[in-house]
């Protein structure tokens, strides 16, 4: 993206976001800059919210996104046809790239100072790039920095958010692929352990965090995100970007999807495995998700099912609990796609 392109990205997002979420006042800190570019028909409607049932078939019917099968197929057809082969917009490939962007001391060509197996250390800055997961990390030692008074942080929050968006544009994150962008404050609240601070008392701000998630032609991309952290305006201290190249599974031939009955038949055993017969609330979305195929990471269309179970009964203490939100996936395409299993067993072979 050209400089003018990144400026345009920033301007568009910022204008949208300001409309959606007014600048936070010191006393009412809200997240700044939130917008959504996802097709809402691809996710569960309000009908599924807070409905817990042991009838998983009924829960499935409530949570299945409203887009009809033909619309879903047409959408994935557009995604397959419009996505360039191995779409890979991120411009970061090595430590030097982000150093240049931030105007930092560039690491020499062959820096032997390693922290762990991935991070390259230059002074008080570390960089790392994992080519398989496409996670790029950058972080600076910030131990000499003190938290900001809350009201001071609120005054610069908007400027920091702009800086973050500009940086994301510079590293290649295109506005058309942003599903959600939000800049939040990481609070730092000190207290005497014998006299906890009331929630109404003003705290401090440790840092600013911008979070961006990804969408492709209206479809949510699992496992893709970018986070930028600043200690203050003009002081970026962290970048965690997982924005991998989009390459579809080589077995993808047609956008033909499973019908709702097939999806339900494949989903219900997964829900049963997670909820174990207890009440569950389901929430769903049609997504693209990365899977492993040999040494490659490829994307497949999927129905994402979030299972929130409640009612587990501690046989000693008795009362029922709400459990974790567990994400599970069913392949969406009618053609079977083979790939490596997600699940690993943490046995001795891992050490």
């Amino acid at each position: 993206m050209s400089t003018s392109g990144s400026t345009r990205l920033h301007s568009i997002l910022f204008a949208m976001a300001v409309l959606a979420a007014p600048v936070a006042a010191a006393a009412t800190p809200e997240s700044l800059l939130a917008t959504k570019a996802v097709n809402p028909n691809l996710g569960s409607t309000d009908a599924a919210v807070d409905i817990f049932s042991k009838d998983y078939s009924k829960a499935f019917d409530l949570a299945l996104p409203p887009a009809p099968q033909a619309e879903v197929e047409a959408m994935f057809d557009r995604v397959f046809r419009s996505t360039p082969r191995a779409l890979d917009p991120l411009r970061l490939r090595q430590a030097r790239d982000v150093a240049k962007l931030l105007g930092l001391q560039e690491p020499p060509e062959n820096v032997p100072s390693k922290l762990g197996t991935m991070l390259t250390v230059v002074g008080t800055t570390a960089y790392g790039f994992d080519p398989f997961t496409s996670v790029f990390l950058f972080a600076r030692d910030r131990r000499d920095l003190r938290p900001l008074p809350f009201r001071n942080a609120a005054l610069v929050q908007q400027a920091v958010a702009e800086e973050h968006l500009r940086l994301l544009g510079q590293i290649g994150i295109d506005a058309s692929q942003i599903q959600f962008v939000q800049t939040v404050l990481i609070s730092s609240r000190g207290e005497d352990t014998k006299a906890p601070l009331p929630d109404s008392a003003e705290g401090e701000v440790h840092s600013f965090l911008t979070y961006v998630s990804r969408v492709l032609a209206g479809v949510q991309i699992e496992g893709s995100y970018a986070k930028v952290v600043s200690a203050n305006k003009g002081n970026v201290v962290g970048l965690d970007a997982s924005w991998p190249a989009i390459a579809f599974h080589p077995g993808v031939r047609s956008p033909k999807c499973k019908d709702a009955a097939t999806l339900k038949r494949e989903t219900l055993p997964l829900v049963q495995a997670v909820a174990g017969g207890n009440e569950a609330n389901l929430v769903m979305a049609y997504v693209l998700r990365p899977v492993r195929l040999g040494g490659q990471r490829v994307f497949v269309p999927a129905l994402k099912i979030g299972v929130l179970a409640r009612g587990a009964h501690d046989r000693i203490e008795g009362e029922d609990d709400l459990e974790e939100m567990v994400d599970t996936y069913v392949d969406l395409l009618a053609d079977r796609l083979a790939y490596d299993a997600d699940d690993l067993i943490d046995d001795d072979s891992r050490d």
């Binding site: 997240s31 809402p40 996710g43 996104p65 922290l115 762990g116 991935m118 250390v121 570390a126 996670v135 990390l137 030692d141 910030r142 131990r143 959600f180 939040v184 404050l185 990481i186 609070s187 730092s188 000190g190 207290e191 005497d192 352990t193 014998k194 109404s200 003003e202 705290g203 440790h206 979070y211 699992e222 496992g223 986070k227 952290v229 201290v237 962290g238 965690d240 997982s242 495995a273 997670v274 769903m284 979305a285 998700r289 979030g306 179970a309 587990a312 046989r315 000693i316 203490e317 609990d321 709400l322 459990e323 974790e324 939100m325 994400d327 997600d342 690993l344 943490d346 891992r350 050490d351």
Partner: protein, 276 residues
């Protein structure tokens, strides 16, 4: 030492000696099913815990684990609190630990961690069993929990007794957290960033997830609580790195890091939005 080697050494010293020593160990414990009241499975949870442990191992630490049916109460219980406790040779034998298990609805005992099976008349690890760190015969400085309600905001002080043993930072979730095959890499990132950005901020940055299902959000709200004997010391410990090995102090003050206003979307008092 050659000038070249000396320069590298100085670069690494800038991170306050993050290099592991032989006695530095890390510990993880994950369950995917339970005999004690939970009927569902969580097949990805061990992958998340493992990603952190394996990545920490890449920094040179000795890796220890107690997974599946080995997630037992005695491994997390201090012998000074219960005669059958053996945490000093299990969870508390490590300077950093991560536990991946159900966190039940909290009560005045704070985090109630589901153990694999019933033991000593309970299914849960709770406050009366927990004391970690060098002052209690262990090693732990960083306690992480991939577990719902593990640092519930209104009950955050329930960790203070455990910190009397010398724990520097406890890191967990306020409200419900989520499990996914696509969260595994974030536990790997946590281990990386904790060596540079600080353990507490790295936890909040990597574990915060505001999105989920095509615009419908179920946020994860991480909270990290750092301890010190003065307000300044607690603030400094809140930026402590893995391997930095700051001296222990009495936990008279705490410094809490979290995303301002994060709302885990529950209707119980322990699930209300975090303060500003």
């Amino acid at each position: 030492m050659s000038r070249y080697r000396k320069r590298i050494w100085l670069l690494l010293m800038a991170f306050a000696s993050p290099l592991a020593t032989a006695e530095d160990a890390i510990f993880s414990s994950a369950a995917v099913n339970w005999e004690c009241g939970y009927t569902g499975r969580r097949d990805q949870w061990d992958d998340m815990c493992m990603a952190w442990r394996v990545t920490m191992g890449e920094f040179g630490y000795t890796k220890r684990r107690a997974n599946y049916s080995r997630m037992r109460l005695f491994r997390f219980t201090d012998p000074a609190l219960r005669s059958w406790g053996e945490d000093t040779v299990h969870a508390d034998s490590a300077f950093a630990a991560l536990v991946c298990t159900h966190g039940r609805n909290p009560d005045e005992r704070g985090w109630r961690a589901a153990m694999y099976a019933e033991e000593h008349g309970t299914c849960s690890l709770t406050k009366p069993q927990r004391m970690y760190g060098r002052a209690s015969g262990g090693q732990m400085r960083f306690m992480h929990m991939s577990s719902c309600n593990s640092v519930p905001w209104p009950l955050r002080a329930t960790w203070d007794d455990a910190a009397n043993g010398g724990v520097h930072v406890v890191a967990g979730f306020h409200g419900t957290m989520s499990i996914s095959p696509h969260h595994v890499d974030q536990y790997r990132t946590m281990a990386q960033l904790g060596h540079i950005l600080g353990v507490a901020p790295a936890w909040v940055v990597t574990m915060y997830r505001p999105t989920g299902y095509a615009g419908r959000a179920y946020p994860n709200c991480p909270v990290a609580r750092a301890y010190g004997d003065s307000p300044e010391r607690a603030a400094r410990v809140a930026d402590e790195l893995y391997g930095e090995n700051l001296a222990d102090t009495q936990p008279r003050y705490a410094r809490n890091l979290y995303v301002s206003g994060c709302d885990p979307k529950g209707d119980k008092s322990f699930q209300r939005p975090l303060p500003p």
